[in-house]
Structures are given as structure tokens and as C-alpha cells.
């Protein structure tokens, strides 16, 4: 919105979090129960020496030390996760583009150790990496500038921002980020996770209140805990819950002393990575203005992937960037590099330059990476002279809509907003989780499955990340495979299947008109 005037989002927001049928939940809990029973049995066998123990054992001289891991803490890891461990940490040996090469590995002792066979599974379709705009590819001529910067500046900057670590590349990058987001200033950091955990303590402290969404990422939670402020949690994307908390906070003040809060900070994410939902920004901004709170929005997944020109949720809803106080985001996902940024008004960014823990103690971003971000951002904004960037953003939106629509038609339970490129498909049962991932790898499709503790116990899911670099053929291959998987594993639980012929919704009779 170059003229700065907001136009409010007119289309209805369609988000669905369908509940599974009862028998599915019963079987899921039964599955975990049986796994637990067997776990106890195996632990007993291992402790009594009948079975060989492959797990961590203390060294001889430390036998009488207090054990490093209490037995029950990793009961789940040892007994349930261990059985299906081969679906995670799969090593790859090519760039994480739309097709990649996975190294084949087998296990001789039921996943306790792995061994590489030396073979590589080539051209696996990548539905797992956060490669929304397809910018993480092998070197091609457009990455020439990155090569030049690597040769000129070396590989790293061994110093912090306050000392000798600010390069002119960083300054250029910060100006570009501010221009991209349409804000006054920005500051970049070396790692996305660390951006949150080191800057939230600089903004809020004791005597402040943080209202954070139920499903916020671990980096936001860690930053909030390290800051020392009081944390209250509101239900996911639920504006009534948030409003109630805000009212109580403003009226009654701090818990025991009844003094007024110094500041109230609302922390939300743009697109939630495990649910695929998009934050309800217009209503949050309205609440924030009424109760005079500050808004911190973490656009790790939404920057570059959501919005008509890829500028994130603020543009998606057509709102004014001045309404959000602190923009935070990472460059890992859509820009194909690493690092994070915080942007907003100039006085905010100046304060962070002086007081952020990262600026004082941690090394700054490496120059080739900064150059890669500059290159990708210019590509998306169209400053390199082509419209390729815009085309990719549009392609991502088209792919997302197509993928979600087809999955809905097939009858899977999909969470999240219709427009979000993160698509979680619910699997529920732990056995199906493993079977799903392994079968799809056999068909040369790489997916990511997530279970407890990243998701609630009964809601294990497979999470697809649609990319602009996926062609229609790749998506169709994946959809066919998913269709067969769904029939094989009985995954099509949805009771709200949409028809494949939406033009027939308004028809009152199916007679042919003569």
C-alpha cells in the first residue's frame, strides 16, 4: 500500500479446525496406552539384564554419580519415539529446492543406530522444507553477487555489532528491509531464534505484562520467560479471551499490589507453523488501540509468503504498518538464507541497537548471507528489473489454494486458514504417522510428520509446505500419492467434504433445462 491508506479485508476468513470422530480419538489413546505398557515391559527387561541396553550408560568411573537423565524423563523418547525415529533428521545432500536428494540410511538394531548404505535417493519431491518462494536453490548466475561478496569479505565477521562487526552490507540490508516492510527502520541479527530470545528481554521487564497466544513458538516463550515479565496466555486466535485478559489487566492491575502495569505487550505470530492459521490482525489491532497495548508480531513464516506482494500479514489484511509496534521476522524461510530482523519505528530500532543483548554479545550476520538476503529481497520487490518475484508470490498463492482445495475434496482433515501455505494434515495415531512418512519416502516424496511434544498428544500430523517452485505436475503426483495413502491407511476422516463441483452449490434441481 504505497499511499498508506488501509483498506480492510473484505473476504471472509475461512479457518477450520475440524474435530476427529470419536472412534479415532479412542484408538489414538489406546495406541499410546499399548505403547506405554510395552515400554514398561521393555524397561523391565533392560533393567533386569535380559535385554541388551543400547541407551545411554554412564561410564565406569561415574557409576555412583547422580544419573544425568532421570529414568522417567525420557521414557517417551526411549520407548515410543525410538521406534519411529527414522522419520526425522533425514540427511540430504543437495540444495533444499523443490526436488532434493535424500541419503538412504538403514538401521540394524531398530533405530538405535543408523548406517548409511551409500546410496542416494535422487529427486525426491520436497514437501517439508520451508522453501516458500523457491529461492533456496543451487548456485546459478543470479547468485554471482553472493560469490563476489564471499571472495571480497571472507566467510564470517568475528565480532559483535558494537565492536567491529557492522559492515556496510549490514547497513544496506537494514535499509532494504525497512523499505520492504514500509516502516521507518530495521535491525538484523544472525539467527532467527536468537532474535526473539534476546530482544524481548530488552523491551519488557519486571512490572510489564505479556499476553501471548497459546501456540506461540518456543523462541517467543523463551524470550518472554527470560525477560522476567508476567505472562498470561490467551486461547489460540480467540479475540474474546484476549479482550477479557486485557480488560482484567487494565482494570485490576498487577496481581497483588494492584499497581498499574507499566506496559502490556501482545505477542502473536503471523502464520502459526503447526496449525497453519493466520492471526486475526484487524481485530487485534482494534483491541490494541482500545486498551493501549503494544503489538509484537512474529512473521517467521508469513514474510514473503502471504500477501499480494509478499510483504506479510499486514499487507494480507490491507492494514497500515504503523499500527503494529514491533515487526519481527526471519530470513530462513522465504529468502533462503538465515538470520532475523526486528523493524518498526526509528526510536524503537535505535533503542534496540543500544540495548539488545545480541548487539552487544553475539556475532553479527555473515556477509555472504547478508548479500543473499539483499539479492532475494530485491528479487521479490522487483528492484532487479524483472517481475519474476511477483510472479513467484502469485504462483505460491495459486499453488496453496489448489493444494488445499484438492485435499479438502479428498476428505482429509486439514487445519488452518485457506490462504496459508503451511498445510497440516491430521494423522492422529502414532502408527500411522510412521507408516505415512515411510511409504511416501518409498514413492520419492519427502514429508515432515510431527507428533508429541510439538503438538498435543492426540493430534499428530503431517505438515506440508507448499512452494512456488512446485509445478502443477509435482503437486498432482503428491496428491495422487496422498489419495492412495489415505485409502490404504484410512486417513480420510473429514465429515465436511466439499464437492469437487462448486458451481452446483446453488442449483435447486439437477434436471436438464430443455
Amino acid at each position: 500500500q504505497q499511499n498508506g491508506k488501509p483498506h480492510f479485508y473484505e473476504k471472509p476468513i475461512v479457518e477450520s479446525f475440524e474435530e476427529a470422530p470419536l472412534h479415532v480419538m479412542v484408538f489414538t489413546y489406546m495406541g499410546y496406552g499399548i505403547g506405554t505398557l510395552f515400554g514398561y515391559l521393555r524397561d523391565f527387561l533392560r533393567n533386569s539384564g535380559i535385554e541388551k541396553c543400547n541407551a545411554a550408560v554412564e561410564r565406569e568411573e561415574q557409576k555412583d554419580f547422580v544419573p544425568l537423565y532421570q529414568n522417567f524423563e525420557n521414557f517417551y523418547t526411549r520407548n515410543i519415539y525410538m521406534r519411529i525415529r527414522d522419520n526425522w533428521n533425514r540427511p540430504i545432500c543437495s540444495a533444499p529446492g523443490p526436488l532434493f536428494d535424500v541419503m538412504e540410511r538403514v538401521s540394524d538394531d531398530y533405530n538405535w543406530t543408523f548406517r548409511f548404505t551409500g546410496r542416494i535417493i535422487k529427486d525426491v519431491i520436497n514437501m517439508g522444507s520451508y522453501n516458500f518462494l523457491g529461492l533456496a536453490v543451487r548456485y546459478d548466475e543470479s547468485m554471482r553477487t553472493v560469490k563476489d561478496v564471499l571472495e571480497e569479505y571472507g566467510v564470517g565477521v568475528a565480532s559483535t555489532r558494537h565492536e567491529m562487526g557492522t559492515l556496510n552490507k549490514h547497513k544496506e540490508l537494514e535499509d532494504l528491509v525497512a523499505q520492504f516492510l514500509n516502516v521507518e527502520a530495521a535491525m538484523v541479527f544472525g539467527m532467527g531464534f536468537a532474535t526473539n530470545s534476546m530482544n524481548i528481554p530488552a523491551l519488557v521487564g519486571k512490572g510489564c505484562l505479556i499476553l501471548s497466544d497459546e501456540l506461540n513458538h518456543a523462541s517467543l516463550v523463551l524470550g518472554a520467560r527470560l525477560s522476567g515479565a508476567t505472562i498470561r496466555i490467551f486461547k489460540h486466535n480467540n479475540m474474546q479471551s484476549l479482550e477479557k485478559l486485557l480488560r482484567d489487566a487494565v482494570i485490576y492491575g498487577q496481581p497483588r499490589t494492584r499497581r498499574a502495569w507499566k506496559k502490556i505487550l501482545i505477542m502473536v505470530e503471523g502464520v502459526y507453523s503447526m496449525e497453519g492459521s493466520i492471526v486475526n490482525l484487524p481485530q487485534i489491532v482494534a483491541l490494541k488501540k482500545k486498551y493501549k497495548a503494544y503489538l509484537y508480531i512474529d512473521e517467521a513464516h508469513s514474510i514473503g509468503s502471504v500477501g499480494p506482494t509478499g510483504r506479510g500479514v499486514v499487507e494480507f489484511f490491507g492494514m497500515d504498518p504503523q499500527d503494529v509496534d514491533v515487526f519481527m521476522g526471519t530470513f530462513t524461510k522465504s529468502f533462503g538464507a538465515s538470520g532475523g530482523y526486528i523493524a518498526g519505528r526509528k526510536d524503537l530500532v535505535d533503542y534496540l541497537r543500544v540495548h539488545s543483548h545480541s548487539a552487544v554479545y553475539a556475532t553479527s550476520m555473515s556477509p555472504p548471507i547478508a548479500e543473499q538476503i539483499i539479492r532475494s529481497m530485491k528479487f521479490i520487490m522487483g528492484l532487479d528489473g524483472t517481475t519474476q518475484g511477483l510472479k513467484r508470490v502469485r504462483q505460491l498463492a495459486k499453488n496453496t489454494r489448489y493444494f488445499r482445495q484438492r485435499l479438502n475434496e479428498m476428505g482429509f482433515i486439514i487445519y488452518g486458514n485457506e490462504e496459508s501455505p503451511v498445510v497440516p494434515l491430521l494423522l492422529y495415531m502414532p502408527g500411522k504417522v510412521a507408516a505415512f512418512a515411510r511409504h511416501l519416502l518409498n514413492r520419492k516424496i519427502g514429508v515432515v510428520v510431527v507428533g508429541f511434544p510439538a503438538t498435543p498428544l492426540a493430534e499428530a500430523r503431517a505438515r506440508f509446505c507448499v512452494s512456488a517452485a512446485h509445478t502443477r505436475e509435482m503437486l498432482d503426483t503428491v496428491l495422487e500419492a496422498l489419495d492412495e495413502m489415505g485409502d490404504l491407511l484410512h486417513l480420510k476422516y473429514s465429515r465436511n467434504k466439499k464437492s469437487a463441483r462448486p458451481e452446483l452449490y446453488d442449483e435447486t434441481s439437477f434436471e436438464l433445462d430443455d
Binding site: 561410564r59 571472507g154 564470517g156 567491529m164 519427502g446
Partner: protein, 321 residues
């Protein structure tokens, strides 16, 4: 008999008793009242409170000539000489001990991996973010540090700030040097354990603290059996530049084992360039230290995927968890 008592009593007595009983009944059933009236806030009062409340500004104002706002802009590679604000200076400021940031072999390797893998990893380690170069680097690091296995992280600060809470939880005891760097302090804060500081590089002070802990343990042996104890020291302290006296520490380690003190596990944060000297100077092997965390001062040998990787070398048993 009761009736006869009543009929024999004088009339005024009966009337007085009757009045007293009625008065008691009235008192029992009347509403109690408190001295200070308290009632819930009305809706109008709540709205007024909301209107009146003014938060502090999000950030306090900073003066324009704070030194951190006027950065020294570096415009060249940080090797032995560095170009700051346009002038070329001798570089005594970057942590470039072995001078490998500018090494042509390193650059060539980085370029080769840039050509093969591109720049970013697009995902965490668990979800297709593990490359064969990561595994290769971990093997080499483990061999270099003579331990069984190693794990790498992508940001130095985050390495130790996440490794400490992974081992030490609430209720455990950590003995840490007073001059430990900020990353260690943040890690300890996140772990919520009990922290006991000993004077910088002072082994006698550490011994005193350990003895005090032993006395405490004897008071409550059941609790002592489940609390873990850690000592955190740095190989080369970032704040003071001194080296930690590892042989004496090792002596304490063994001595306290003999005297029946419970487990001690040592985390060490060191810079391997200095660390190799450390090894020869103090003549003790890494086998005695459980966990070694280190910070190589250059990117990985064969990729430019991370700018400042840091690593944790462990014995195989502890690595898995």
C-alpha cells in the same frame, strides 16, 4: 417440672427473659454489615479506568550521540588489517585467532559448497535440514577433540544458552565462575537451577563451596541423591582473558570423588585454537571432561550454510539425549 418452675417465677423475671430471647433471635437473623463498604466496580467505573490508564512508552528515548548509534562501519574483510570508517587499521579487535577468516582454502571450500547447496538450509535439523556436510563436520570435530560424538549449532550464543538448560534443570546445582560470559549467564537463567558463584579462577573458593554443599547433602541425603551437580568453567575467559587451571580442577574432581561427594559433570566452553595449547599446557586428556563446548572461529570447512557454527562434543551416551 419445668412448668412448675415457670409458674413459680416472678412475672418481671419472665418478661425480662422473654425480651432477652426475642432480642437474641433478632440479632441472629439480622444482616451483618462490615465497617467498610466494598462492592464490585460498576461498568461505568471500569470504562473510566480503561480510559485513564496510560502505559509507559514502548521504549524510553535514547540520546542521539550514544556511542552505539554511531557505529564503526567496516568495509572489508576482517583479517589482520581492517578498513574501518574508510581508514585501514591493524586489527586487534576481531576474534580471528588463527586468521582463517581470510584463508583462500576456506573461501574455496565455501564457494564449492555454495555452488552445490545454495545458501540456506530452509528448515531445522529434524525436518530435512541435516546435510551430509553437517554429519561430516560432526565426525571431524569428534575426532579432533578426541571424544565420541559431537553436535553442532548454528549460533554461538545459542549453543551454550541451550546446552546448559538441556542438562541442568530446576533443583540442580551449578557451580560457576564469577567471570563467566553473558551467554553462560543466560543459559543458567533459562535453566532455573541453583547457582553458586565462586571467585574467578580460585580453586580454594570452589573447594569451600563444595565442602559446604557436602554438609548440606548429609542433612538431606534423599534429596542429594537426585540433585545433579555441575561445574561450568570457560577454557579461555572472554571477559578477563585468563585460562582456567584445568589440572587443579581435575585434582579437585578426583579428590571430591574420593571423599564421597556426589557426581560432578564439567561443562567447558573454550576456543579450540587456544584449546589445543591448553591441552599441551595442562597435560590432561579430554577424556576426563564430560562435555566440551567450543567455538570455531571460522565457518565450517566445507560449507557457507552457517556463519558461526558452534559445537558440543560429548560422549556418545549423553549425546543421544
Amino acid at each position: 417440672m419445668f412448668v412448675t418452675v415457670i409458674s413459680q417465677a416472678p412475672a418481671y423475671h419472665l418478661i425480662l427473659e422473654g425480651i432477652l430471647i426475642l432480642w437474641i433471635i433478632r440479632l441472629l437473623f439480622s444482616k451483618t454489615y462490615k465497617l467498610q463498604e466494598r462492592s464490585d466496580l460498576t461498568v461505568k467505573e471500569k470504562e473510566e479506568l480503561i480510559e485513564e490508564w496510560q502505559p509507559e512508552p514502548l521504549v524510553p528515548p535514547i540520546s542521539k550521540d550514544h556511542p552505539a548509534l554511531n557505529y564503526n562501519i567496516v568495509s572489508g574483510p576482517p583479517s589482520h588489517s581492517i578498513v574501518v570508517n574508510g581508514k585501514e587499521c591493524i586489527n586487534f579487535a576481531s576474534f580471528n585467532f588463527l586468521g582463517l577468516l581470510d584463508n583462500p582454502r576456506v573461501k574455496a571450500a565455501a564457494l564449492a559448497s555454495l555452488k552445490k547447496y545454495g545458501v540456506g538450509t530452509c528448515g531445522p535439523r529434524g525436518f530435512y535440514g541435516t546435510f551430509d556436510v553437517h554429519l561430516d563436520l560432526e565426525d571431524r570435530l569428534a575426532k579432533f577433540m578426541k571424544t565420541e560424538e559431537a553436535i553442532i549449532y548454528s549460533y554461538g550464543f545459542a549453543t551454550i544458552a541451550s546446552a546448559i538448560p538441556a542438562y541442568s534443570k530446576r533443583g540442580d546445582i551449578v557451580f560457576v565462575d564469577r567471570a563467566a560470559c553473558f551467554a553462560i549467564q543466560k543459559g543458567l537463567q533459562a535453566s532455573r537451577s541453583n547457582i553458586k558463584l565462586f571467585e574467578h579462577n580460585d580453586m580454594a573458593d570452589l573447594e569451600r563451596l563444595l565442602k559446604e554443599q557436602e554438609i548440606e547433602d548429609q542433612k538431606n541425603p534423599r534429596k542429594a541423591r537426585v540433585t545433579r551437580r555441575f561445574i561450568v568453567v570457560e577454557g579461555l575467559y572472554m571477559n578477563t582473558g585468563t585460562i582456567c587451571p584445568l589440572p587443579e580442577l581435575k585434582l579437585h574432581f578426583e579428590a571430591s570423588q574420593v571423599s564421597g561427594l556426589s557426581s560432578l559433570l564439567v561443562l567447558r566452553f573454550c576456543k579450540p585454537a587456544a584449546g589445543t595449547e591448553l591441552q599441551t599446557v595442562s597435560c590432561c586428556s579430554w577424556a576426563d571432561t564430560e562435555v566440551v563446548l567450543g567455538k570455531p572461529l571460522l565457518t565450517t570447512f566445507s560449507s557457507v550454510l552457517e556463519s558461526q557454527p558452534h559445537f558440543v562434543c560429548l560422549f556418545k551416551d549423553t549425546l543421544f539425549n
